[in-house]
């Protein structure tokens, strides 16, 4: 489903990837681990084509970074749900409208939008918050809204960038359990984290480590 082939990528003053390769199959749950600033977010950005590799190719579904047309990128992103580190909830609209946004973008019908938002909000325990604004919610609640928004279009891939970064350990664990449940329904899941406690608790998952500008599969010691 996702192939990174000999990727080279660098920002002006820092090389992030050098000849990095990896394959991720449909339905996998992958933790991406590594020190802060090593390139976890960049790896995710490469997958949703927010940045382009200097050389090498990224293939997601039918899209190839080397041949993709700019006008195709919005359609590629509609197949991916993204949970951002800073949530990226819009404070100028209520929770209903935040969750519904990807459906409006994908030109959904009003009635179906309403039904789908209510469905996902009830699954994630957000029904009572639909009429209030993001700034009135706690960090954990905002993260649930972000996950609801990412899942509303039933994407084939869910990317979560440090989804537990700003949460207390109990709420963090709840969020990862929620992501695990989503993965069990068949959605491929990639979660970047530097929280090893969480990774240890889900030791059966695949762990990709970023080190020395490359990607390695690692196994935790029992």
């Amino acid at each position: 489903m996702i192939t990174l082939n000999n990727i080279n990528f660098s920002y002006t003053s820092k090389e992030i990837f050098s000849e990095a390769s990896v394959e991720i199959s449909k339905g996998e749950f992958v933790f991406v681990v590594g020190e802060s600033g090593i390139g976890k977010t960049t790896l995710l950005k490469l997958i949703y084509f927010d940045v382009k590799p200097k050389s090498g190719t990224v293939i997601f579904d039918d899209y190839n970074s080397g041949t993709v047309d700019k006008t195709e990128i919005p359609f590629l992103r509609r197949k991916i749900g993204i949970v951002f580190q800073d949530f990226k909830l819009l404070n100028d609209r209520n929770i209903f409208e935040n969750i519904a946004l990807p459906l409006y973008i994908a030109n959904g019908k009003k009635e179906s939008i309403k039904k789908r938002v209510f469905d996902i909000a009830s699954k994630l325990g957000l029904i009572e918050y639909l009429n209030i604004f993001p700034y009135d919610l706690s960090g954990g609640e905002q993260q649930r809204v972000a996950i609801a928004r990412a899942m509303i279009t039933e994407p084939i891939l869910l990317i979560a960038d440090e989804p537990t970064g700003n949460l207390d350990p109990f709420v963090a664990m709840d969020i990862v359990k929620l992501l695990n449940d989503i993965n069990k329904t068949g959605t491929t899941l990639i979660m970047a984290t530097h929280n090893f406690d969480i990774v240890k608790k889900f030791a059966d998952k695949r762990i990709l480590q970023l080190k020395d500008r490359k990607l390695f599969d690692v196994r935790l010691k029992a």
């Binding site: 993204i82 946004l101 928004r149």
Partner: protein
């Protein structure tokens, strides 16, 4: 794509940045007032120049004992000269009448005969109303035996010719300055609004929004701002000209003021400024954002 949703986004944009939107409307208003005043200044200056030029004619004075058949032959000869629009015959009696109308006393009260000569007044096409061309015409006809003298208002033409070139040059500079500063001011103000909503643009993009989905609400906002700016500018100009016209209405100068066409131009330019300002600002932002 649902226009209703995009329109709602535009209105939400206004609500999010009320002060910036107000600043943008005021900027458009001021730019339009400048453009309209400049436009009216140009139109009216050209009108004054044309007015003076319209009065420029060649007076061909005839000898006293000219015969009727010679008059017709001469008229045909004069018509054959290039650039003649029309020719009017002014008899000795007509000349005396004009004199008494203009000076308020009868010629025959001063002299016991009418000393004024009959004449042909030649009106030329506008492009022939230059000192050079009239002098060429003058040279062609001045030696004809039935003609005693040929005159035209050389001084007036000299004035128009010497001032028009400078006027056109200054006009061009003013036009360039006003246009550039208007576009600069409006697009900068709009860019401020757009950069304040960069997070929204970025989120939309990452959630799979097409460029048009991001762009259209800003274009609607630009349109509304342009429309509001033009309505304000027209109102301000209307108030100004109400006072201005009352001062000048007793003179014989007929100024071009806020006609329907100018109101339409102002609205068109205002809306274009608003939409173009939004378009280029968002475009620039989308490019920066990759």
């Amino acid at each position: 794509m649902k226009f209703g949703y995009l329109y709602k986004e535009a209105i939400r944009g206004f609500a999010n940045a009320k002060l910036s939107a107000f600043a943008s409307v005021i900027t458009i208003t001021l730019s339009l007032i400048l453009i309209a005043i400049y436009f009216l200044f140009t139109v009216n200056s050209n009108r004054i120049i044309k007015n003076i030029k319209d009065k420029v004619e060649i007076e061909v004075f005839l000898i006293d004992d000219i015969k009727t058949d010679e008059l017709n032959t001469l008229k045909e000869k004069l018509k054959a000269v290039g650039g003649v629009k029309n020719i009017v015959y002014v008899s000795k009696d007509d000349a005396a009448k004009i004199f008494s109308e203009e000076f308020g006393s009868d010629m025959l009260d001063i002299y016991d005969y009418n000393p004024l000569p009959a004449s042909y007044k030649i009106n030329l096409y506008d492009e022939y109303k230059t000192i050079d061309r009239i002098n060429r015409i003058k040279a062609q006809i001045t030696n004809l035996p039935q003609i005693s003298d040929v005159q035209f208002p050389e001084k007036n033409l000299e004035l128009i010719e010497s001032k028009t070139t400078g006027f056109l040059f200054i006009n061009l500079i003013i036009m360039v300055v006003i246009t550039i500063s208007s576009i600069f001011l409006v697009s900068n103000t709009i860019r401020l609004i757009i950069s304040s909503r960069s997070k929204i643009i970025e989120t939309f993009k990452l959630l799979g929004a097409k460029r048009s989905f991001i762009m259209i609400p800003f274009l609607i906002e630009g349109f509304i701002q342009g429309l509001a700016g033009s309505i304000l500018a027209i109102s301000a100009l209307y108030l100004f000209f109400t006072v201005f016209v009352s001062k000048f209405e007793s003179t014989d100068l007929h100024f071009e003021l806020l006609g329907t066409d100018i109101v339409l131009y102002v609205v068109l330019i205002g809306v274009t400024l608003g939409i173009a300002g939004s378009y280029f600002s968002v475009l620039k932002y989308l490019k920066v954002q990759n």
